[in-house]
């Protein structure tokens, strides 16, 4: 009996890479290595190697679809070359018109979360009710248990990481890098305090 004709020696991971590719096409949220391994009925190390193959095939400049590591998992997105075409057909309702109050609230939840509305109000100096409701509605933050006093706590969602293109919350820059010079504020206030006590 004739053996099947093979002109190119195939990588033993090819079949697994195809399965991983199929799983990622069907998913509408990033999939972790463990999830992929479980679904593919294979071990995590081989899945990671297969992801390497898929990532090589689907990268910027080579394909209209790009594999990326985002929100703690792996997902496909459109290549940046296709962004304008995508923008003509699709809306971005989640991140459209995010107000300054919403962004500040989002930053507080991202850095200090899980945290409650009173926590946010304490930092911003104004009520956080409407900003929190708005962010929950957009799916950028979600409830994450309650404080002992009963206030609901919030944390950011995987959608937040995905929209901001973060592999995880640890990819956020250090606060000291983004904030203003705290020492300068402290110095000014001390000057005022000294004048008052004198």
């Amino acid at each position: 009996m004739d053996a099947p004709l093979r002109l190119i020696s195939s990588n033993p991971l090819d079949q697994l890479a195809r399965t991983v590719e199929a799983l990622l096409v069907v998913a509408s949220a990033p999939l972790g290595v463990e999830e992929l391994a479980e679904a593919a009925d294979d071990d995590a190390e081989r899945v990671e190697a297969a992801l390497g193959l898929v990532g090589e095939r689907y990268r910027e400049g080579r394909s209209g679809i790009v594999l990326e590591h985002v929100a703690g998992g792996w997902a496909f997105r459109a290549s940046r070359d296709a962004a304008q075409a995508c923008a003509r057909l699709f809306e971005k309702p989640v991140q459209r018109n995010l107000s300054q109050a919403s962004l500040e609230t989002l930053a507080i939840v991202a850095y200090l979360g899980p945290c409650s509305r009173p926590d946010i109000a304490r930092i911003r100096g104004v009520s956080a009710d409407s900003a929190v409701a708005n962010l929950v509605e957009r799916g950028l933050i979600a409830e994450a248990g309650r404080e002992e006093a009963g206030a609901i706590r919030y944390r950011t969602t995987p959608l937040f990481e995905r929209i901001f293109g973060l592999e995880s919350l640890s990819a956020l820059p250090r606060l000291d890098d983004v904030g203003a010079d705290a020492d300068a504020i402290r110095e000014r206030l001390h000057t005022v305090a000294e004048k008052r006590s004198a």
Binding site: F76, L103, L106, L175
Partner: protein, 250 residues
């Protein structure tokens, strides 16, 4: 200038200052929602309209607005209010500096998020079913007003009356069918209703049936139908009598 009549247009409240105070004192308005800086700005704008500085108004306003600020601060930090009052100025300044610095950092973080959102604006990915973007509107070519008026005049004209004559039911006279049936029965003693009138419309058939009933009432015909929906057979009454006589005599 009367401070209490100062008109305010804030996000959380719109109306005179004294109404705002009343609502706050009655706890019908959350002071946390009120932008006190907005009130100060409104007052300063009003103050600038006058040439002379109204010291009385300024004094009254300062007392009221500082009371509001204190209430607001207490509302925001209820459990810490008493603790803060007892602090030494230096410690209080340190605490305030800590909070301000914390807010500054968060403001910086929010700015980073905003920039990130802009730099990641080219990211598109599947997110459940995607909402369709609104269609781009194609702007109209420049129009001539005269032409527009002309078209509107055409549209404003009374439309011609539409004739509905063809929709009316036309009933042929019953007499027409009376004559027709009598003529048929003169030629042959019996006939089938459906065969005779098959080609006619429903309305004409209904009128024909009325004619038939009329003939039956006059005793000119006999009508029989073997079963519901079976053919209706019409015969001359003299033929009918003849048949029954033949049957009986047999």
């Amino acid at each position: 200038m009367i401070v209490r009549e100062l008109e305010l247009d804030l996000d959380a409240f719109e109306g005179p200052f004294d109404l705002l105070l009343t609502l706050v004192l009655k706890e019908e308005l959350e002071l946390r929602e009120v932008d006190v800086a907005g009130i100060v700005l409104a007052f300063l704008e009003r103050l600038a309209e006058h040439e002379q500085l109204d010291l009385d108004a300024c004094g009254e306003f300062l007392v009221l607005v500082s009371a509001l600020l204190e209430l607001k601060a207490r509302g925001l930090f209820p459990e810490e209010a008493a603790e803060l009052l007892e602090l030494e100025p230096e410690v209080a300044a340190e605490e305030l500096a800590r909070r301000l610095a914390e807010y500054r950092r968060m403001k910086g973080a929010a700015q980073w998020l905003r920039e990130r959102l802009e730099s990641e604006g080219e990211r598109f990915f599947r997110l459940g079913p995607a909402a369709l973007a609104p269609r781009a509107e194609t702007p109209l070519a420049p129009q001539e007003p005269e032409k527009l008026a002309q078209v509107i005049r055409l549209l404003a004209a009374e439309p011609a009356q539409v004739s509905l004559a063809h929709m009316a039911l036309r009933f042929p006279p019953v007499s027409q069918f009376l004559e027709r049936f009598r003529a048929v029965l003169r030629r042959r003693p019996r006939f089938d209703f459906d065969q005779e009138l098959g080609g006619l419309s429903r309305v004409e058939q209904a009128v024909a049936f009325l004619a038939l009933l009329e003939l039956r009432r006059n005793g000119e015909v006999a009508i029989e139908q073997a079963a519901p929906f079976a053919p209706i057979r019409i015969s001359r009454t003299d033929v009918e009598r003849e048949d029954s006589w033949t049957l009986r005599s047999a």
